[in-house]
Subunit: 362 residues, 2 copies
């Protein structure tokens, strides 16, 4: 039975009138939303975070608030998701804010920029460094409200057909890499390519491209890239701790009761932590499997990291000069990152160093 | 008006009968619980996590599910919290499971053991490595059910009146350190002391003790220990990523509707991530302030870490030989830790290393 219909029934007596307080009425309201994911179902960790979120909202509301998840492309393709939400085609999306950096570079700061924050850092910035409010001040100008919705942890640096020993080896290399990471690599001589996930394997196999980045071991293994591009570089310095977002149409958000808003925010925060935990639990076995399958692990040469860092910093100065949204948010995030690393280097890093060195080998 | 009373009113007609489906009836049920925190209010990060959790549950239920938080000692002192919950004196506690390791060493594994998992690692183990279920299999034997409820990140290694250069310097040192960390330090010659937080400063000032560990910069600063024991050691290898818990009386948990259970679990997961984010956001400024106030940062000497690691591993073999709960859970956690560090050493550690080295100095 529909609660709303019930409440409009005019024949109810005084006792029922007392029941129909706004809180109760809205808590039981039937709401049905559609969520367009920015990802395919094959990425069960990322796509799964939206499903985990939706299931939680449903459970917490006794089935009254249902959010149906659709993979990218089923309603709208990923690049159109933010517009589809802002325009009310769907109520919400689960996506990476940086996909929309072409509209405004400030979108990128919700997710990750090269040499930005690691996973713990961006969570701290979002939740206790003013990040959620600052991003929402910007998202509001786009008709959206967003909440952090998952993290992959530091990504890998991609698959290369040939070993690289210095910046010189990057000249003319065609690499599948998008966004600001692509801009940084371009400054180092790489020719960035935009290729959907499903086309990476054949492109590398045929030699149409020379390198490609995807996510990390658990997701990369599904594409089988180790068979056609054996050098597996790290770290993915353009995504040190990328944060996904649940983005919601502003009017639809405002139409929710305070209870439902609280449930959505809390479920998003739960899914945010849950996705990182799932990656952290799944990645080690996938890394083992990839190495057993021929992947050759290589750190990026120091001069590549140094040149990329300089190129990234130059880019942020350029963006900031012409884009006040980017300038404001990056100033906050950069300062927060530097302080986070000040602290990180003491107890955390020393503990991790000891534990890594003392790891049983084999 | 009380929803329960309303539902027992016998004069209602058919339309109201239709309303009283179990889901709706229970979603609106008035529930009032008491939570005894294991911590004082002065630890606003930790105590605050319980308040954040309770406020979220209240908001998500339109005020129908209220959880009142009490600092340690107001209803029962911290050491009695798990018994008070199991016995139904209070419905729940927010505490560190390892406080109760004297009852059964397996309690410690819910929080942290020396050289255990870091913060991301224990979250991954809890949520996607079988940890929550495994701990709850054990907690059920104690009349409890628990959910991870916050993390401090890797703690600091405490305040020392004198510099230590090797294991030899630990002989006879009286250090305020509890639990299994104290057992490990004891194996290295330290004489562990159990002293409440409020007594640490005068004990160090008078020289009744020579060293004391507390939490990390943000909490430690409040005690002013830098003024009486200037050497600030790191890392707190006995707490690489300690996880708190919301622990609930099993019968009270079972009495909740599925909706309320979902809300409690989700709010706990939210608070779990939120507390770590708050520490990560607050610790850097506190570390700066402590160093400006005379704290002398020192890493533990390598031979201290090595000897402590050997002592810890010996202890786990001993516990496992006589305690099947500990044996089962530690086997899971140790294997998970080793795999987590296998992965951590690749992208994450390399990224963090670069970012720490390139941090603007000053």
């Amino acid at each position: 039975m529909k609660r709303r219909n019930f409440l409009t029934t005019a024949t109810l007596g005084a006792a029922v009138g007392a029941l129909a307080t706004p809180a109760l009425a809205q808590a039981a309201a039937k709401v049905s939303w559609r969520l367009t994911s920015g990802f395919p179902k094959s990425l069960d960790t990322i796509y799964g975070a939206a499903e985990t979120f939706a299931a939680t909202v449903k459970d917490a509301t006794g089935g009254n608030f249902e959010i149906q998840c659709f993979p990218a492309g089923e309603i709208v393709p990923m690049p159109e998701a933010s517009d589809a939400v802002a325009g009310g085609v769907v109520e919400m999306t689960h996506t990476a804010s940086y996909y929309y950096w072409g509209k405004n570079a400030a979108f990128a700061l919700g997710t990750a920029v090269p040499f930005g924050l690691n996973a713990r850092g961006i969570n701290a910035w979002h939740y206790h460094g003013g990040g959620v409010d600052m991003m929402n001040e910007f998202y509001a100008t786009q008709g959206l409200i967003g909440f952090p919705g998952g993290n992959t942890g530091c990504q890998m640096g991609g698959w290369w057909r040939k070993e690289i020993n210095s910046v010189a080896d990057l000249a003319g290399v065609k690499m599948r890499i998008a966004g600001i990471g692509g801009k940084v690599m371009e400054a180092l001589g790489v020719v960035p390519q935009q290729i959907p996930g499903g086309d990476i394997y054949p492109s590398l196999e045929r030699g149409t491209i020379d390198a490609a980045e995807w996510v990390g071991p658990y997701d990369d293994e599904k594409l089988g890239l180790n068979k056609v591009a054996p050098y597996y570089y790290y770290p993915g310095f353009w995504e040190g701790g990328p944060s996904l977002h649940f983005m919601i149409n502003m009017e639809k958000w405002n139409s929710l009761s305070p209870e439902y808003q609280a449930i959505v925010k809390t479920a998003a925060a739960m899914a945010n932590g849950d996705m990182l935990a799932k990656y952290d639990a799944r990645n080690p076995a996938a890394l083992r499997s990839l190495v057993a399958g021929g992947a050759l692990l290589r750190p990026y040469p120091q001069d590549v990291l140094d040149a990329a860092y300089a190129a990234a910093n130059k880019l942020y100065v350029e963006f900031s000069a012409t884009n006040p949204d980017f300038a404001k948010i990056w100033a906050s995030q950069e300062a927060f990152r530097n302080e986070a690393n000040l602290f990180n280097q003491v107890a955390e890093y020393t503990f991790d160093t000891f534990m890594i060195r003392n790891r049983p080998k084999g």
